[in-house]
């Protein structure tokens, strides 16, 4: 108990509450209007997706190009449940059901494919995600290519905040645990990790399953905000989008992923005014950032409040 209630956790709790309160205030006085709210939702969903992919790709070093597939599962399962079960807790039931099914699929996919390495794993996960998408495309119950409409809107700022904060906290704590350290050791050197007695397959699958779980949550939040989902939303380009956030932020930096998700959303919102050139500029930015800063914005460093305060304290002394 003593350890839990130290100054550091207090600082985090206060800053989280402050972020929540300020945004809530801005929404209620309508400075964040309907248009900005869509961006806010996308930022939160992208943070969840990027942080969970970072666990797989950045920390465990398993290059996955299939994150959108898990997002699709979460989105569809929760959409089906909230459409058929209109009651108080249907959102939470749908959300967790979606996340659990996504992680189950992640488990089933992970066991055979995680034997592969590097590029081969990337291609296999890409193929899996595309197969998931094509299956949804061919199931008439969920609307096929036309998509599923009329999903009730449950996602709002409090829920978004809770799930985004929970994702970040859970994953960063996981990384600091001995399981997380095992994952990092696999990234650094798989053979050395194995010879130190780490069950590499187990940890790779574990990271993959956790990643899939949170991707499922992100999908559920998405489908319960936008009323409408269709298989094409979760195509290969969506997986690429998530990967771009992770790499841009720095593989192995959670705060980097958060920062990159916000930055990319701002860039793309700003570029809305030039619809024709939007993607061209986006692509150029991507190339330029990669050429001049291939390790991403943060590298593997983390931005933390306490280190910020420590630096200030050092300066004062």
């Amino acid at each position: 108990m003593k350890q839990l209630l130290n100054a550091k956790t207090l600082l985090y709790v206060i800053s989280l509450a402050a972020i929540y309160g300020i945004v809530q205030l801005l929404i209620s006085v309508n400075i964040i209007n309907q248009y900005y709210q869509v961006n806010l939702v996308m930022i939160c969903i992208n943070i969840i997706l990027a942080v969970s992919l970072n666990l797989v790709t950045g920390f465990t070093g398993q290059f996955s190009l299939g994150h959108a597939g898990f997002m699709a599962i979460g989105a569809y399962i929760s959409a089906i449940i909230t459409l058929n079960m209109q009651q108080e807790y249907s959102f939470l039931i749908g959300l967790f059901a979606g996340a659990l099914v996504a992680s189950l699929v992640g488990f089933l996919i992970g066991i055979p494919t995680l034997r592969l390495r590097g590029d081969y794993l990337a291609i296999a996960t890409l193929g899996m995600a595309e197969i998931i998408r094509i299956l949804f495309l061919n199931i008439d119950y969920v609307g096929g290519a036309a998509g599923l409409t009329g999903i009730p809107q449950y996602t709002n700022w409090p829920w978004l905040f809770v799930f985004t904060a929970a994702t970040i906290i859970i994953i960063s704590n996981f990384i600091k645990s001995s399981h997380g350290r095992a994952c990092i050791s696999i990234r650094e050197d798989e053979i050395a990790a194995e010879s130190m007695g780490i069950n590499t397959t187990k940890y790779k699958v574990l990271a993959f399953v956790i990643g899939a779980f949170f991707a499922g949550i992100a999908g559920a939040l998405y489908s319960n905000y936008f009323y409408f989902i269709k298989p094409d939303l979760f195509n290969f380009m969506k997986s690429i989008d998530i990967l771009v956030i992770v790499v841009l932020g720095g593989m192995g930096s959670i705060t980097g992923s958060v920062l990159a998700a916000i930055l990319l959303a701002l860039i793309s919102a700003y570029l809305q005014s030039f619809p024709e050139l939007r993607m061209v500029i986006y692509a150029l930015l991507l190339i330029i950032i990669m050429i001049y800063r291939p390790q991403g914005l943060m590298g593997t460093k983390e931005f933390s409040l306490s280190s910020l305060f420590k630096k200030k304290a050092d300066k004062i002394q």
């Binding site: 494919t113 590029d119 595309e130 094509i134 790499v247 841009l248 993607m279 692509a283």
Partner: protein
């Protein structure tokens, strides 16, 4: 039986196009271990150049094909110099993201210039169907596709195995450092590889325009992925593997859609990919490499 043979003919003509694109993937992967996601878009550019040549310049098929190949080769050369060369020593994932950036740039840059609408590729040949038997038909376009593909592959085999540039390419892909020590200009060799691969993709673009008669700026995404699957299927980095993989993928796809599963056509391609990765990750013609500690 006739339907079966007909599917094989259709499959081989589709597969030839995949094979031409797959060759570029496999060559680039073989030499710098980069999945060049922009390769499918070079094929799209090839189709647009073919379109411009035949529609506006009123050139014939052969001239258009050659012009498209030359322009795409230059484009591939330039892309390598500008986007990939600075990342030669960076992590592979950074190079991959750059490739994705280049791909998006080509797609949306083309869309900005030519607008997003689908264009109709002019008919360069008067459609003629040759009946082999009463139910077995091969069109003259299909014959052209197969002949051009075979010629280009033969040319590629000649370049890779019997010229100095080809020897340099093989040397760099085996061991870059050793090749450099032997006085091979590694950067130039890599650029040449990009140029040759892109030229083949450009040719595939023109052929697809002639075959399907419609082109659009995003047409390169799916065939690009499929060609990549074809390359993995045959064994990535192995040139005959890409040919074999491309043609088998084309045949399998036509069979899946020919026998009722057209909606699952793309899923079939990916399922094959996963199966081959799980059973023999090095591909049909690839050699198993022992892992070194």
């Amino acid at each position: 039986m006739e339907q079966f043979l007909q599917q094989i003919i259709n499959g081989i003509s589709l597969g030839s196009i995949y094979a031409l694109i797959a060759l570029g993937y496999t060559m680039v992967y073989g030499i710098i271990k980069l999945i060049n996601f922009a390769h499918g878009d070079i094929y799209m550019i090839g189709a647009y150049i073919g379109f411009a040549c035949t529609t506006y310049l009123k050139l014939g098929f052969v001239e258009s094909l050659l012009i498209a190949m030359v322009v795409c080769a230059l484009l591939g050369f330039l892309i390598e110099k500008i986007a990939y060369k600075p990342l030669r020593n960076a992590t592979r994932i950074a190079a991959l993201i750059t490739a994705i950036g280049v791909s998006l740039f080509l797609e949306y840059g083309t869309m900005f210039i030519v607008k997003a609408d689908v264009r109709t590729f002019p008919k360069v040949f008067t459609e003629k169907n040759i009946h082999i038997t009463s139910g077995l038909v091969i069109s003259n376009t299909q014959i052209v596709i197969i002949v051009v593909t075979v010629l280009l592959m033969a040319l590629l085999q000649y370049i890779v195995h019997f010229t100095k540039a080809g020897k340099a390419m093989r040397a760099v892909s085996t061991d870059q450092d050793a090749a450099q020590l032997m006085g091979i200009d590694v950067n130039f060799t890599i650029s040449t590889t990009f140029a040759i691969g892109s030229a083949l993709a450009g040719a595939a673009g023109v052929l697809v325009g002639v075959y399907y008669n419609s082109i659009d700026p995003l047409m390169g995404m799916i065939p690009g992925l499929k060609a990549f699957i074809a390359a993995v299927f045959g064994g990535i980095g192995v040139i005959p593997g890409a040919m074999l993989g491309g043609i088998s993928l084309g045949v399998i796809e036509t069979f899946v859609s020919g026998y009722g599963g057209s909606l699952y056509k793309d899923a079939a391609a990916f399922a094959i990919l996963i199966l081959i990765l799980l059973i023999k990750p090095s591909g049909i013609l690839g050699k198993n490499q022992r892992e070194k500690v």
